[in-house]
Symmetry: D2
Subunit: 375 residues, 4 copies
């Protein structure tokens, strides 16, 4: 694997590296960790890479790696840069035959997303989008329960994603994470709705199997001086007629990363919380509430296949993230071996999810400006 971005000061780069390393299926062999060649070198050295394979630009990395023998060169490019540097490296990687794992949202804007979708389809390569919350075992379980009809027809969905870290004008300080996420030139059309709203949207559609068809959004910039939205409240309508609420906020003072979802069906409902991810609370119409637990009994194979430890040994954010990398590795290996991969492992977010996410961003931002209710 080669990495684009993830140099000094980055948060998500090291997350991707830990996730990729955990299962011993993927080796980081090269990288273009920074637009600054010097910084890239330093990062590469800290990562014990061959200095010859630490590149100054992603273009250089992709083109130079391509020249290496197939059994030496990287198979896969991991893109962990800010949003405005997703499309170009993804495009170049695909055009040169490399599989891609890309951080979310998929691109800087919707046109890029559509273009990327075409590229992925025509390339026949693997493209995975790290909506990492879909990698949790209990999220897999939840998705299967809906698919199997355990809750009956879904009637109502409530998805919350409050964070508090942008409660002040943090971008006015030296904080790199805050800086690019609140900068329209790097983040794109949306702030909070792009950064975490798309996670909420993706999780909602992933678990329920439904499509959001209409939104009615109240999008706000609460902190004075900020250039993009930092809070959004959205009413949802789904393709089966279900109703929903989705909100994402980065000014929810004191909140850590409190992504939660509640899905109400005719026969029962469940609730999952990212901060206590190993429990899925299932409430039934006329039976006692159950706690389904990672690694324990009563789970679908999809949940079991994404679990590393016996019940009671908590698995966290990195393990969920690693499930996406592990599944991509399995898919690449299957391609190399020219065999079919069990669909249980192909169920990671892809470019289609990326397009859905970008469409969601455009829709809620538009709705936020609209006087009419539904967009």
């Amino acid at each position: 694997m080669g990495m684009v971005g993830g140099g000094p000061g980055a948060f998500i780069g090291s997350v991707h590296r830990m996730a990729a390393a955990m299962d011993g299926q993927i080796e980081l062999v090269c990288g273009a960790f920074s637009g600054n060649a010097e910084k890239s070198k330093i990062a590469g050295k800290e990562l014990y890479l061959d200095p010859l394979r630490v590149y100054g630009t992603f273009q250089e990395m992709i083109l130079e790696e391509k020249k290496l023998p197939p059994d030496v060169r990287m198979d896969l490019v991991s893109i962990v840069t800010p949003n405005h540097v997703h499309f170009e490296p993804a495009k170049l990687a695909l055009e040169n035959g490399f599989h891609v794992i890309c951080d979310k949202p998929v691109t800087y804007n919707l046109d890029e997303a559509y273009a990327l979708r075409n590229l992925v389809h025509s390339s026949g390569l693997i493209f995975a989008l790290t909506h990492n919350y879909t990698g949790y075992p209990m999220v897999k379980q939840a998705r299967q329960m809906i698919r199997k009809g355990d809750l009956g027809n879904v009637r109502k969905v409530v998805t919350e994603y409050p964070q508090g870290w942008l409660s002040t004008l943090l971008e006015a300080t030296d904080q790199k994470q805050a800086a690019w996420r609140t900068d329209p030139d790097k983040a794109g059309l949306a702030g909070a709705m792009g950064d975490i709203g798309t996670h909420a949207e993706n999780l909602t559609e992933y678990i329920t199997g439904l499509k959001i068809t209409k939104v009615c959004a109240d999008i706000s910039t609460i902190v004075e001086g900020r250039l993009l939205d930092d809070d959004g409240n959205v009413l949802l309508r789904f393709n089966n007629g279900a109703r929903g609420i989705l909100y994402a906020s980065q000014i929810a003072t004191g909140e850590e990363n409190n992504l939660r979802i509640k899905v109400y069906g005719e026969l029962g409902s469940f609730e999952w919380s990212q901060m206590e991810p190993n429990t899925l609370t299932v409430r039934w119409l006329n039976k006692p509430t159950q706690l389904l637990r990672t690694g324990s009994v009563g789970l679908y194979p999809e949940a079991v296949a994404h679990t590393r430890l016996p019940a009671g040994h908590p698995e966290g954010y990195l393990e969920a993230f690693a499930n996406i990398y592990r599944n991509v590795a399995k898919c690449i290996q299957a391609k190399l071996d020219n065999v079919e991969v069990d669909p249980i492992y192909t169920d990671f977010p892809d470019v289609e999810d990326g397009v859905r996410g970008m469409e969601f961003i455009y829709k809620v931002i538009e709705s936020g400006k609209n006087e009419s209710k539904w967009s």
Copy 2:
């Protein structure tokens, strides 16, 4: 105290009686427990009342009690009937000099609410509305924290009230509680939004001290054959510019009575859940999260004054309800003694809250039909 309603099969009548009895300040002395005189008699007997003071109608009760000597007759009428029988007994009680405690929503329609407000104001009598959740010690604490500015300016509020008991067409069975609550002739303009949406609205305004100025509502009747709404999702705007979400549902399968509120301010936030009411979780901008607990340290006098037990001895729904009765008793006693009552005890929902609730119902139902976003 005399009671209107609360005969056999009623739920809320016995709640009111337990709440009234708990502190030994209020004695049930008479009642018109049912429109059916026979049923009223049976109820009165079970309550050990003097048969002469068990009446067939509220009119009879009010007029006959008035004839009794002042030290014998009831001081207070408690109205625990369905919504369509709130206004008339309240009006007659006030016109005859009796204080009133009335269940919510205050009346059947908005015109009655306005008329009742005028009556209360001109009578000089006490009128309390049992938005009982405001009686919890930790709700008192929350309200004071906002008043004192502990969280700074409020920016966002999320209030949830999911119940699951009407997930099926329960009113088609013999269930009395379901029957009147889903019947437009008894409940009024709204179902879930009237029954529990108004609790959510009242709690939101009570705790934050803010006023909801605009709503954008998605109001639904999910269960086929039902005549009133059973689910509503609402975006809120407040008079200080804060944003909010409020939802109430009676088709949230498996949910018990999961009223929750989260208030986000500049300096911190808090979260309170009715089902675990003795904890207020407070999250700060740059300090560890705190758990404030009923009966424990670090609380405002308003919380302390509504607590009966040392910390760790859980106080519940009935105690919160009883706080309203106890406070009304204190106010009546103060009137009798011609003294001022400490404002700590006068802070219960009144006819003004009742009018706000009815206006909220009308607004969200109207918004639910609107194509334009804000009502």
Copy 3:
């Protein structure tokens, strides 16, 4: 009902009064609230009692009340004094034909307990001991589950009762509650083990239906200057061979009233916590964990019969306490009506439980001094 004790400054007296009043089945008609006649009068006035029935001593109360006509005089004496004033009023009440509700532990010493047992048996009167935690609906449910064999043979029990309020030498201040509980002349042989250890012991035997047959105790006085134990750790053996742990502490700094019990059987286990009393967490050998909830589905009639509200409306300490009073009232009424009372209502702690508690105190205090392991 007449009350002995519970005057100004008392905590448990007002608890008993609220519990007795809640269900409208018991009326407080007289009392000897303090050894100080003046204080007793003040208390009686605050409670709206007829001044003629506010007595200076319990002897006076019992003897004077006996002179009143049967339909006027009290039926029942409630004893809420410190331990050294349990036996005498109980004895006199029973000897004069009055039923008794008494706070725990039952007496000042074991001889009194045995004597009281004889008196109760020969009197044919009702004697209830307020081990109030047995009144919780989920405790009733737990007891029934064991009785019905739902967990199979019980193998292990862990009962914890940490409090923190005596972490400092509080008795050196003016705190009345601390003063008598740490005074050997008033509390008896034990401090923490008598005050709350007996609650833990009673709850353990009540829920499991087992008898503690052997104890091995480490009993300590942690706070310097204190005269009785404030911390005790005990290994248990039960009559069916099960093993157990019980600890009670009043120096567990920061703890409120954290009584918890875990019972492990062959087929499953459950856990109950007094501070969140409306949930019984049941863990099964090969099935998902269940949450049984007060007022919800899947409960035995014994739990249902001790529940006042629909699920999700939290019931607390006072409601559990009131269940004992309500059941005593039902038993008295049945005696008056000369009918059988449903055994569901007779299942409150009695003088036998009182004797067990006193024996437990003597055993653990003795064991604490022993060099040999089991007592």
Copy 4:
């Protein structure tokens, strides 16, 4: 790193590998994964190892690796075999100049533990024992709080470690994990007390900084046909006079891996639960309860240095485990670079902890047979 054990069917081997790989500091280069050379080969192939460095025995691995050039050969041996195969490979590794990471308990018996201690001391090499629970950030925080005196003098400690997976005679089936852990020839003197009792003991001493000086144990074999203990309840006395309870059980039906510790000091107390490891609940004498959270504010540098993610992104069992590997890697690197390593990273369990654990096993098993109270 070379690994001893961890072949097909092993649980803890893959845990060690994931933990070692996560931070990119340690590379698995060789292994003797099974006593069966064929199985070892298969394992090595699945792990993408050079077949030449997949060995049939640990002796072969150690001796062959030693022949390789220093920059090629392994630095470190990771021993993940059952207890009876800890001492020999550790001895041989140390004698040949390799650092060792060893699973717990440290050896099969106490004599081996003492011998190993001598070997480690004379070798000057690093020996780490994977009492992995000490690697959690909130455990580091807890330890520092005690060291800094935040809770004052410790008075009472309660450590619980219930599991339910051996509630039936699982070893009679084909379950490898159960088989060796209940076999005296492989596990040693103790079953549950060795397997998880030592974790509880180590965590207790690690966090409190105290030494257990006396034990009084009730050790049982509950499941018929089992050869070693599966349940133990222990009273503790500490070197500062504090009291304690420790229990470990593998027949606690329905429990997953519920390691918990509560430490009570003069000024406050805290509680930590392995199954929700990112929260440390701190209760104070006269201040509201606080929740300290991994990655959030108010933490000591020791906690921060063992955290990988921002608050709210749950870190779990593998991350805690990986902290031990990461710290060992840092210590090895420092030795290679001939620099001092920050003591923040040297604070992992070592051979001394291993000896303490073996002494604990011997003491509780002896106490379990004793008629006298304290051993």
